[in-house]
Amino acid sequence: MNILSSLLILLITCLLTACEQLPEDKPLQYSNTPTPNTVAIYRLAIHPLHNPKKLFEAYLPLVNYLNSQLQDIHIELEASQDYQVFEGKFRARKPELLLPNPWQTLQAILVGYHVIAMAGDAEDFKGIFIARKDTGIKTTEDIKGKVVSYPSPTALAAAIMPQYYLYTHGIDINRDIQNVYVGSQESSIMNAYLGKSIVGATWPPPWRLFQRDHPKMAEQLDIIWQTPALINNSFMVRDDVPDNIREQIKNILINLAQSPQGKEILIGMETANFYAANDNSYNIVQEYIKHFEQVVRPVEKK
């Protein structure tokens, strides 16, 4: 009987342990407001000088550095698929912080953003023409009837300034060549590499980055022309950002090259330094754009 009792007990134990013991279901609790007591989030939108991945790799150290220095706010990096999207964002005044190209700087000023610094040497803000070494292009005449790729029609250094250079060197860009806007700097270079375009227009930082990331491909490419320098990209804050925050950000940026960590961040961004600047510093661009639109084409389609 003892053996039988033991068998029965074992049987019951087995059946009972077969039942799964799990917690009850708990539905999601939605709210109309975020969790209180969180620091203010500031979004830093950077013009798509790289694809989003590369842009994050290049600029995330800067954002992290800023966050480590700033107590009251938290900055989030925000990429954009293309220039139109980027421009749409600041025109809608969504990002608090902007890093636009000089032309976009002028646009942003119009909607309430203000320049607090210039990103990089002014000498480095120039357009360059990348072409495969095997194309045999010697003069601008050689590109007539060919495709030229640009990141965007509003890209000052990589589109406006190259097109003005071609204008000044006897090329009617509207008739002599086919202009293709491929969305990003890297795309413009890749178009040239792949032969989709005879020349790809870009500016020095993306090209240096490409050389670093794709040295074998870069070996087959070469800079065939470059435009005169103008002025570099700006760092802007929205006009509703408190002054103290703006000043803190400005100081951090201008003094970035003073520390080894800051120097590394600048190298990663292919940016020499941040220099003090304001809205007026970009009047030259206003003039340049005005002349460009008069002699070449309008920057934006009306």
Partner: protein, 784 residues
Amino acid sequence: MLGTLRSQLMVGITLTVGLMMALFIWSITYQQQTEETNQHIQRIQALADSLATLSSISVASRDFSGLQEIVKSISHFPNLNHAIVLDLRGQVLAHSDSSKIGLYLNDLPRKPEFNRLQLTKNKIDVTQPIIFTEEKIGWVMIELDRTFHHANLAKIWENGLLYALVAIIFSGFITALASRYLTRRLYLIQQVADQVQAGANLRVTMSGNDEAAKLARQFNSMLDSLAQREQQLASFYLLDLVGLTITSPDKAWIRTNECLCKMLEYSEQELREMTWAQLTHPDDLCSDEEQFTRLLANEIEGYSLEKRFISRTGKVIPTQLVVRCARKDNGEVDYVMSMVEDISQRKADAEKIKQLAFYDPLTKLANRRLLQDRLHQALVSSARNGHGGALLFLDLDNFKTLNDSLGHDMGDILLQQVAERLNACIRKGDTVSRFGGDEFVVLLENLSVQPFKAVKQAGDIANKILSSLNQSYQLASHQYSSSTSIGIVLFKDNQSNEDELLKQADIAMYQAKNSGRNALRFFDPEMQASLTARVTLEKELKLAVKNQQFQLYYQIQVDSSQRPLGAETVIRWVHPERGVISPFHFIAFAEETGSILEIGQWVLNSACAQLKWWQKKDRTRELTLSVNVSAKQFHQVDFVDKVRSTVLLHGINPKLLKLELTESLLLNNIEDVIEKMTNLTEIGIQFSLDDFGTGYSSLQYLKRLPLYQLKIDQSFVRDIVSDENDRKIIRTIISMAKSMDLNLIAEGVETEQQQALLLSEGCTHFQGHLYSMPVPINEFEVLL
């Protein structure tokens, strides 16, 4: 329910199958559940990974329309409850339910770098960070519905139960058939066992070589063995050497063998209606029941004792009983086994042995051993209760004469009649014993505690014995009268030991005998002193012999002219403490103890040495020397040789040595005496008969003795002046000596008158104080 092997087998196997099936179902269900859960987890994590990857660029670019497209693209995933993309603040950027876009979810992981997987009863949730270039930029939340999973498990569970039920029913059915088949042969054995138990003499008939067949063979073998043992036991039980019985705890006979029935003179059936207590001797019942109670109380496993049964005819049967018991599991006595041995013969033999060991076969009285034992007990008892006791030592007067005259048969009859009379005289509890020969000892116990009353009680009984034993006896055809001497010693408080008391009684008896016989005497302490003195004397005499503490004195012997003829040597014991001791005080004792042999030899040796010395001088060359010889000394086998060798050793003239013999010496073995005297006479030694006239010398013997001299005893000489009879005796002796041509000397002459009268009668040699006392040699030689 489980009383049979079949039912046990059925229940056991069915339960085992049920258990195995349950284990199987449990295992399958558990495995399925685990597997499905793991699959869901993998799928939901893969989905979350995909969503996080796909949405990373759109989140980084805040491309909300693109995000919503991505979320919508996975919303068709089976059992998906929702898919959500959130920014770091928990704001919904995209949702499978687009109405939720823009709302906040605040329940996000605190450590955003980790995945969070939540498994609830009906859902599985995963929350995963969106990492873009190693930076977390938002969250993905996916939830899958698991209710379908439970439905699957329930279906598996139901199917499993159904299969298990079918398996159990089927196994029960198969087991029932199999158990019936497997146990059919066991049932056959059981049937035979039941019939054997009911008394049938059966065996199992079963062929084959399986376990049941082997069991059947072993069962048959066991039955055979049991039958054989039963038979052996029965034959053992039938043995008529010893009684065997099995009784119940309430003392009833259950079984008895023939031997016991015969012993008790009851049939077994009759005994079954009785208890053993009814047939036990009342005096033995208490001890038996006491042991039996201890046996029932589990204090002992058995016992043995001697007890007496009373048979049907009232015969008392001494038995040796050995009892053992068989107990039940709870320790209670089941039944009792007893062995009853009739020890009547053994008892009789023991009694006989006891009689032989402790009783005199002639008189049936206690013997000396039993007396000593009883005396010891009496002393102990006296010490304990303070009562006095007495030992009566009896010796029949002149018993030796009876034996010599009427023969030993008559002596034995007398002893038997004396024993009967003694038994008639004593009280119950007293002991009469034959101590040896014609000696009896009566032990009286429980006399008064007061000594003078005890003396009177002992005296009364002793007088009663004296009176009884003085009555004449009829010994066959002879009428015989006898008397008895009784010595009595009283004892109390264990103050003396047994041997001492017996000795004291013996002494008292001798005192009675010395007093004239047919008398009783109480032991006198003075006698004890005398006894002690004798013991001391014996020790000192042995020492004296060893150290030669003796000295020879010489009493001169003269002729009618008072010329010295020689001397009689008289021994003196020069005691280192008590001075010179006369032979009167120790010679008789020396004769008793045997020391006289050594003393006699010393005297002879000393006398011969003195003679040798005298032989060297003219004045003493002719002097003779008389030496007294005791009877014990003379009767030595080598007496002649010793004397001869002593004479030769000293080289003396044997004719000068005169050995004085007493008349009593001549009483025993006269032929031997004559031969020894003749042998010594042949070498020249002369013999003088001392104390002549005081004994009962046969003139016939006297005539044959080679005597040289008769010595008239001083008792006749002492009164020769005043007593005519003495004078006549002396005259007769002198006449007889002359007629036998013997030399004569009178001893104990103390006055001139005595000397004159002796001389007038014809005696010419004299010895006595008139001439000299016995003196040492130096004084003696002055007399010459």
